[in-house]
Symmetry: C2
C-alpha cells in the first residue's frame, strides 16, 4: 500500500432547496461572474431563472457563455478564457453536467495564461492558478463537481484529452437531486455507466488495497445497480436521484483511490471512440467494460472478479472461482444491455472496424496502459474487435 | 432526507514516512509552534525525536505542553491557551490520540478569548477563531484528526462535555499506521469500540437514510470487525493498522451523517461514566452498546437490526426478523467481550449502582435524548441497570 495525500476542500451543498446559498457563496470571490452552460435545457426547466435571481439578489454582475457541447470543445474553452480576461471575471459559475464543468475548469485556468488553452492538453502546460469555480450540477455522471480533472475534445486533431490539476477543483458545488428529475432515462443510464466505470478503474487492480475502500466501492456499485432502474422508471424519485448523485461525486473524487498507482484502462480507450465518433462517453464505456473484463480475466486477476461477483452480485462463493468470474461479467452485461437498454456493440453506434487500429494506437499512446492488466496496442485492438 | 453541507478541508497525509512533510506544513502558518502531547510515550518510541528534527529543520521555534491525560482535563486546556497567548503561537502541533487532539482544539480556541475556556462547554461560548491545528495521530479511535469536535473533562464539576465548532477542524493531519504499532491490544480494542460506536450512533436510526452511506457504514463496521483481532495479535500488521486508522477518521468526519438529525445515545451516556469514574471511553461504550441495542429493539426499530445482522454478520435473511435482530446483538456482544476481551459489566470496572440515577439524569440533561429510540432518565437508568 502506497502513502497518499487526501485533500478535497470543495464545499458541497447537497439536497433540495440549497440554491439560496448561491449568491452568498459567489460573492465571496468577487463581483463579476461568468455563467457557463450547455444547450439551454436550463432555460426550459426554470433553473436558469432561479440562478439569475440568486445572482441578482447578491448584486453581482453576470456574463454568459452558453452552448457548451457534450464532449466539450476546445473552442468553448478558448471563448471562456477570453471572456475571463476581458471582463476580469472573479468567479465562474458552471451550470450543467460534466461537459460544462470540465470546459469551465480550463477556461478558469486559461484566464491566467497567454498561450492557447489546448496546450494544457497537448503540451502539459503548467496550471498554477485558476479563476475560482462554483458549480450547479445537472447530471450525475462525471464527478467533475468534486474533482480537479477534466476532459476536452479537439475535433480538428481528433483528440479527446484529460488533465488533472489542483487549482481546477471547484470551490463550491451545489448538488440538488431534484435538478436531475428532467434527465432522460437514456442519459441516466449513460451517467450510471460512467459512474460504474470510475469505480471499476480503481477497484479492478492487482495492487494491494485498503479493505475499507473496497467495501465502499462495492457499496457504491450496489447503490448504482439498485437505483438506476428506479430513476429511469420514476424520474422524480428523490431517493434514487440522491443516491446516484452523491455516488457520482464519491466514485471519482479521489477518496477510493487511496494510493493506488495503476493506469486507468476503459477511459483512455473510450476517449478515442468519442474523439472520432462523438458518441456519449457513458455509452462507449458500457460497450467496452464487459469486453475489457473478459479480456483481463486470467489466474492473476481472478481473485478480484470473485470478490466482485460474491460481494456485489451475491453469487454463491462455493462455486468454482472461474465460474463466479464469468457469471459476474454476465450479470454486469445484463445490467448494461438489458436493464439499462444501452446499445451493446460498436456497430449499433456507428463505429467502424477500419478505425480500430488508429483508435487503439492513440488510446495507449503507442505504449502500454499499465492498468488492471497491461494493455498495448494489440490488446486494445482485440478488445475493440470484441465490441464490433 | 434532509439537505446537508459537506465540507472537510483537512489535508491528510496517510501512510508510512510522510512526516517529512511536517516542517513545510507547519511553516505555512508561521514560526512559533506549540507542541502538545500526553504522558511521554512518544519519547520512548522515538516519535518525539523525529518530530523535533522536522520542526528544527524547518527553522521553527517550539514550545511544549505535555502531560495531557486521557479524558483530557480543562486544566490542560487552560494551560495551553495561556501559552498560546503569552508566546503568540502561530500553530499548535498535537501529537497523540483523541485526548491530546481534543484538548489542543480548545487551547486553540482559548487563545482568542478572554474568558475561561470551560465556558465553551458550560455556557456554549462562541468559537469564532482558533489557532491553526496540525495533528500527528498515535491512536485510531476518536476521529478527532478529521472532525471539528472535542470532549473535555472537568473533575471539579464531574462533567465531561463535548463541543463542535468549524474553526476547530485540523488544517493538516498525519496518519501513519506504523505509529500505532506500539498501541497495546487493550487500547486497540477500546479504540475499536469507540470507532464502532461512532458508526452506530449514525447508522441506527429511524430517519430515512442514503443507501450509499449505509453501505459505507456497513463496510466500515466489517473492516473493524475483521482487522481489530489481527492488530491485537500482530501489532505491526500494516494492513490491519492502516484499515483501522483510516476507518477511525471516516467514522466520524461527518460524511456518513448525510443530513440525519437525531441525537446520539451511547456517547452522552458514556460521558457520564467517564466523568465520574475516569474509565476509558471505548470501554464504557463497549459495555453500554449491546444493552442499548437490546433496549431499543421494538417493532419500529426492528428493520435496522435486520439490515445490520444480514449485511454485517451475514445472518440468514430468511429467519424471523426478531431472531435476526437478537442474533446480531449477540454477535456484537461476543465481539466486544470474547474476541476483544473487554470487561462486560459496570461492576468489573468499578461503577456503582448508587450513581446510576445521577449519571442518567446528567446524560439526558434532565430531558430526552432524541436518538434511535427516545431515551429519558428512566430509560437510561434501565440501560445502566442492565450493565451492572
Amino acid at each position: 500500500m502506497n502513502p497518499f495525500l487526501y485533500h478535497i476542500p470543495t464545499k458541497v451543498y447537497f439536497g433540495e432547496n440549497q440554491l439560496h446559498h448561491l449568491g452568498e457563496e459567489l460573492a465571496k470571490f468577487g463581483k463579476r461572474v461568468l455563467l457557463t452552460y450547455g444547450g439551454g435545457s436550463i432555460k426550459k426547466n426554470g433553473l436558469y431563472d432561479t440562478i439569475l435571481k440568486e445572482i441578482q439578489a447578491a448584486n453581482l454582475e453576470v456574463y454568459e457563455l452558453s452552448g457548451i457541447a457534450p464532449n466539450p470543445r476546445i473552442e468553448s474553452v478558448r471563448a471562456g478564457a477570453a471572456i475571463c480576461k476581458e471582463k476580469q471575471i472573479d468567479v465562474i459559475l458552471a451550470v450543467g453536467g460534466g461537459s460544462t464543468l470540465d470546459a469551465s475548469k480550463f477556461m478558469a485556468a486559461g484566464a491566467y495564461v497567454d498561450h492557447d488553452p489546448w496546450e494544457f492538453f497537448s503540451k502539459n502546460a503548467p496550471i498554477e492558478k485558476a479563476v475560482p469555480l462554483v458549480t450547479v450540477l445537472t447530471l450525475s455522471a462525471t464527478g467533475s463537481e468534486m474533482d480537479c480533472g477534466g476532459v476536452v475534445s479537439n475535433l480538428e486533431t481528433q483528440d479527446k484529452l484529460g488533465r488533472l490539476a489542483t487549482p481546477l477543483l471547484p470551490k463550491v458545488s451545489f448538488l440538488d437531486p431534484t435538478i436531475t428529475y428532467t434527465v432522460s432515462p437514456y442519459q441516466t443510464a449513460c451517467g450510471t455507466a460512467d459512474i460504474l466505470s470510475h469505480i471499476f478503474e480503481v477497484y479492478f487492480t492487482t495492487e494491494k488495497d485498503l479493505y475499507m475502500l473496497d467495501c465502499f466501492m462495492e457499496g457504491m456499485i450496489k447503490t448504482v445497480l439498485r437505483y438506476t432502474p428506479i430513476a429511469m422508471k420514476d424520474p422524480t424519485n428523490y431517493e434514487a436521484r440522491a443516491n446516484l448523485m452523491w455516488t457520482s461525486s464519491w466514485a471519482i473524487n479521489g477518496f477510493v483511490n487511496g494510493g493506488k498507482e495503476h493506469d486507468w484502462s476503459c477511459h483512455p480507450m473510450e476517449h478515442e471512440l468519442s474523439a472520432i465518433y462523438d458518441i456519449t462517453h457513458g455509452l462507449g464505456l458500457a460497450i467496452l467494460t464487459p469486453r475489457w473484463l473478459e479480456y483481463c480475466l486470467d489466474e492473476t486477476t481472478l481473485p478480484k472478479y470473485v470478490q466482485f461477483g460474491v460481494n456485489v452480485f451475491g453469487i454463491d462463493d462455493t462455486l468454482e472461482p472461474m465460474t463466479i468470474a464469468r457469471e459476474a461479467i454476465k450479470r454486469l452485461s445484463d445490467f448494461f444491455f438489458n436493464t439499462l437498454q444501452l446499445d451493446d456493440t460498436f456497430t449499433k453506434v456507428g463505429i467502424k472496424a477500419e478505425d480500430i487500429p488508429l483508435m487503439a494506437r492513440k488510446a495507449c499512446g503507442g505504449g502500454t496502459l499499465e492498468g488492471f492488466k497491461p494493455l498495448n496496442q494489440k490488446d486494445i485492438e482485440a478488445i475493440f474487435t470484441k465490441c464490433i
